[in-house]
């Protein structure tokens, strides 16, 4: 089979790919009282999906991905606070643009390095933004952030629903769907293939003459834009933004979500975000220390034994079943 037909087949839409979206719509009717939480799950899925592009597909290990989430969140917040720019959809685009610019510039500068240096540089870039947000209190609200933001109706039709989060949920779901379509198209394109090549064997990709750096910067920028959209959704849905959108905890958190689900897989972000956030919702508030202990042990176990996350585990179980053909 030539790689061309293989690519075309991989790209083909399969019926079960409708399931997550059907579940997303079903959740709207089945859990009307949990839509606020469900919206946070959708936002986390989008954020994890953006990380999957760089970490899972391009193999760039970063501890600073919250920089872009935070950039998007603060962009929307500051536009609404200071310019009265409350229109949500153009806000998402503005956030994507700002986050993408930061991703482009930092990508050009940082992606020349690798390993520990790259890890440190991404971490420093994020901390820099965090400190800047903390210092520029006149614009960002400093340590307290910007509470009580309000946004105008989506498409002029649906007002944000502070009590039940109904419109937020559908808005986030549609945004996630659109972003997912972009990611799916990207990873199944020849561009996505070359990223996997870079992840698997950097030297060989250089040797075959692939423009490695350009592609890395490009995917870093796209990923930053998507993370920015996730951050913007966070601000719009919740009506506030504070320093918690930046910082090591959010970066490490989204990485954990992605790894638990399975990185380098389109649906890893979905599985990871749902599993992680439901468990967190059920356990973290009641038993914070036990939650941390369990999370730590899980991470150790995942790193040692289950490097492909939940989806990888399911795969390997399926492979062991007798007569399992895909």
């Amino acid at each position: 089979m030539s790689s061309g037909t293989q690519l075309a087949q991989r790209h083909r839409f399969r019926w079960w790919e409708l399931l997550p979206w059907a579940a997303g719509i079903a959740a709207f009717f089945v859990f009307p009282n949990y839509l606020s939480f469900a919206t946070q799950v959708l936002i986390t899925i989008l954020f994890a999906l953006s990380l999957d592009l760089v970490l899972g597909y391009a193999g760039i290990v970063t501890l600073g991905h919250a920089a872009f989430f935070g950039a998007g969140a603060y962009t929307v917040g500051m536009l609404a606070m200071h310019l009265g720019w409350n229109e949500p959809i153009s806000g998402l685009l503005a956030a994507a643009l700002v986050a993408a610019s930061i991703g482009l510039v930092s990508g050009i500068v940082l992606l020349r390095t690798h390993g520990l240096t790259l890890l440190m540089l991404t971490l420093c870039t994020m901390t820099l933004l965090e400190q800047a947000a903390n210092m520029g209190a006149a614009w960002t609200g400093g340590f307290d952030g910007m509470p009580g933001l309000s946004f105008s109706k989506i498409l002029g039709l649906f007002g944000f629903d502070t009590l039940y989060f109904r419109s937020q949920y559908l808005y986030a779901l549609v945004t996630l769907l659109l972003c997912f379509a972009v990611v799916r198209m990207l990873v199944y394109s020849s561009f996505g293939q070359s990223l996997t090549g870079v992840r698997e064997n950097l030297l060989r990709m250089h040797a075959v003459g692939a423009p490695v750096r350009t592609r890395q910067v490009l995917v870093y920028t796209v990923s930053a834009a998507l993370a920015g959209v996730a951050g913007a959704l966070f601000t719009q849905a919740n009506g506030y933004v504070n320093l918690a959108v930046l910082g090591l905890e959010r970066s490490a958190g989204v990485m954990i979500v992605l790894i638990l689900g399975g990185h380098g897989r389109l649906y890893g972000a979905f599985v990871g975000a749902i599993v992680y956030m439901v468990l967190e919702h059920a356990l973290a508030k009641a038993y914070p220390t036990a939650w941390q202990l369990g999370l730590g042990l899980t991470l150790v176990a995942v790193a040692l034994f289950a490097r492909k996350g939940v989806i990888g585990l399911v795969d390997s179980v399926r492979r062991r079943l007798p007569g399992a053909a895909r």
Binding site: L116, L121, Q131, T289, G296, L299, V300, A303, L304
Partner: protein
Amino acid sequence: MDPVSILFGGLASGMVLFIVSVGLSVTMGLMGFVNLAHGGFAMLGGYVIVLAMKHWGFAFLPALALAFLAVALFSVVLERLLYARLYRATELDQVLFTIGLVFVMTAVVTLGIGPETQVIDLPEWLRGQTDLGFFSYRTYSLVLIAVGTALMIGLWLGFERTRFGARIRAAVDNRRMAQSLGVDVGRLFAVTFAIGSGLAAVGGGLGAEILGLDPNYPLRYLVYFLIVVSVGGLGRVAGVFAAALLIGVLDFVLKFYFPKGGTIFIYVLTLVLLLWRPGGLFGRRGA
């Protein structure tokens, strides 16, 4: 505060950074293992000292020695059982594993001892001021500076003048070559890892006065330890010493003159430095 006092304060906290980070630098240089849990060993050391002094009736110095031994032993057990399985793993797995380890350490300490900040009671002879003739300063900070400097000299001699140190330097520069010359890098690493973690434990205890001691210690200072190591260069004792003092003094000065967000300059500086020399100030170029 006058400039000299500020300088001394910065030097003292730089020494703490050095004592904690030096082991991290050497082990990362040896195996290229991204060990984000190193600060955890420093925290455990601090807690061993607190327990030993409060409940088991140890004096300060024996408690320090106990912390060194206990944490060194514990770390080498972890190294043989868990770390060793991930030497050939990807960076990502190492990051996940060590972050997980940090969470476990934090949770266990919170469950076992409690979330509150611990205070280490310094013995009488370390309190108060010492008159140096030209000016007087806190005795404890002066002792920290002296201990850090002595340790630096000791480690430097160990690295440059002993057979063991020569093996480490060889393995840091080129692991395969060293191995083919008969250096048992695995064993070398285990021993270095134990000593490095033990030193971190001592640093955690000595530095509790300056950095504090509570279950969130490893995450809070993670970025600082990593900055010191990456600016100093992997596996470079003198580099880490210089970087630790630089960061310590800078942090102290900035926090004093620009209490609101002055530390931002440290991150800018680190960014610029690492872009200029990715291998650190004292590391090999392009490493």
